[in-house]
């Protein structure tokens, strides 16, 4: 079961959370960074109880701000969870479309994200 709650409060903030229950997901979230934007501040947290989750943030230049995979390992007591936290304030060199990719297979966990586009 997939529960998605994405909120775009203003054009400058994109935030949301995704809860995965033995779910597969392959999603790309566009983040439009207009000309004149100073920086993109992001805070992404991924937690996996079971399965594997991959999150990637690409800039217009195709450079990856982050490309992180978290996976879990089965143990005698269930699964050993994994967690990743990515946060940074990246100055905008090229305006355009940034993309936040989320991929997961048979995963149980949560993904929360917040992107704030800052202007001077």
């Amino acid at each position: 079961m997939l529960v998605l709650g994405a909120v775009q409060a203003k054009a400058q903030v994109i935030k949301g959370s995704i809860e995965l229950r033995d779910s597969a997901i392959n999603r790309s979230i566009p983040i439009e960074v207009p000309a004149g934007a100073k920086s993109v501040k992001y805070d992404v947290k991924v937690y996996a109880d079971v399965g594997e989750i991959k999150v990637t943030l690409t800039e217009p230049s195709t450079k990856k701000s982050f490309n992180v995979t978290i996976g879990t390992k089965a143990s005698s007591t269930g699964h050993e969870p994994s967690k990743a936290e990515m946060s940074d304030d990246v100055s905008v060199k090229i305006p355009g479309n940034w993309t936040f990719y989320i991929r997961a297979e048979n995963a149980t966990g949560t993904i929360s994200y917040e992107f704030e586009i800052l202007k001077p």
């Binding site: 995979t69 996976g71 390992k73 990743a84 936290e85 940074d88």
Partner: protein, 313 residues
């Protein structure tokens, strides 16, 4: 008794022999109370795993004492491998990766069997900027990762690092950070890779990619050669067909005369061989020259392949 002594000796040497398959990591760290007093060492089987958090990658772990000291022996390979040391905050899973903020919780290092690596976190600096010593490759790795974090670092810098590094792992990591190479840069990288161990696990993907590039060039060169060969064959085939077409305009008698001329006979000898008048031979020869577009006997050479040996000819 002798076997007993040997057994005892091996028993005493076992830890030392076993250490030969391992490397040692020691360190000192000052963490605030939000952090757990645990550390973990992960083996990175490839560069793609550098930002993968999974318990399957953890190969060693241990406790940090009250003074902030820690140490562990961990399984190491004969050749250089890439490892990640990380710490966790209280309540976080063992496999936690924190990226980008001042709370970065990990640092990469290179080690091979019997290496003694030392980590020291300077107070006030993030973990990722802490010092790793104990192997020359690590100073190269630290410098490379520092440059890689800077957006302005270009391909030439990475290629230069790969060229000057004595560590193949650092060289391969530098090459893996290049992007959109020019043809000249590709050639430089190909030359560099030719010096590397073809079986280096960290370079498998890169080597495969560049070999594919080389194969593509070979296929192209082979294709061009094949096209040239086919063109040449076609040219020769059509030329021969054109000559044959002209040859077939001769009568059988004229063909016989050409055969005799090409065997070295004079007009007089041809006349004798065919039991005809010399003047008739001369008339035939003039007709042959006109039909074949030649001016002398030597020019008839190009038709020698069409001569059928005749009995008594």
């Amino acid at each position: 008794m002798r076997h007993y002594r040997l057994f005892l000796l091996l028993l005493l040497l076992a830890p030392a022999l076993g250490y030969g398959q391992r490397a040692r990591l020691s360190g000192k760290v000052s963490l605030d109370t939000g952090w757990a007093r645990k550390f973990y060492v992960c083996h990175m089987p490839g560069f793609d795993y550098m930002f993968t958090a999974s318990n399957t990658l953890i190969i060693a772990e241990g406790d940090i004492d009250t003074a902030g000291n820690f140490s562990v022996n961990f399984p190491a390979t004969k050749d250089e491998s890439l490892y990640r040391l990380h710490f966790i905050r209280k309540g976080d899973p063992a496999s936690t990766l924190i990226i980008g903020s001042r709370d970065v919780n990990h640092v990469f290092f290179i080690a091979k069997q019997a290496d003694q690596i030392h980590f020291e976190k300077t107070a006030g600096l993030p973990i990722s900027q802490s010092g790793i010593s104990g192997s020359k490759a690590n100073s190269g790795l630290n410098a490379l990762l520092g440059l890689a974090a800077n957006d302005t670092t270009g391909n030439n810098t990475f290629i230069s690092i790969a060229d000057s590094s004595t560590s193949q792992l650092v060289g391969l990591l530098a090459i893996s950070r290049t992007d959109k190479l020019s043809e000249g840069q590709k050639e430089k990288v190909s030359d560099l890779l030719a010096r590397y161990d073809a079986h280096n696990a960290y370079g498998a993907h890169i080597l495969q990619e560049y070999r594919a590039t080389s194969y593509w060039k070979l296929y192209l060169a082979g294709g061009v050669l094949l096209a040239l060969a086919l063109s040449l064959y076609g040219y020769l085939f059509y030329k021969r067909q054109a000559i044959l077409k002209i040859w077939r305009e001769l009568s059988q008698r004229e063909m016989d005369i050409v055969g005799l001329i090409l065997s070295g006979k004079s007009n007089k000898e041809v006349a004798l061989a065919l039991n005809i008048e010399l003047s008739t031979v001369k008339t035939h020869v003039n007709n042959i020259y006109a039909k074949l577009g030649v001016n002398n006997r030597k020019d008839l050479d190009r038709y020698k392949d069409f001569i059928n040996p005749r009995p008594g000819g």
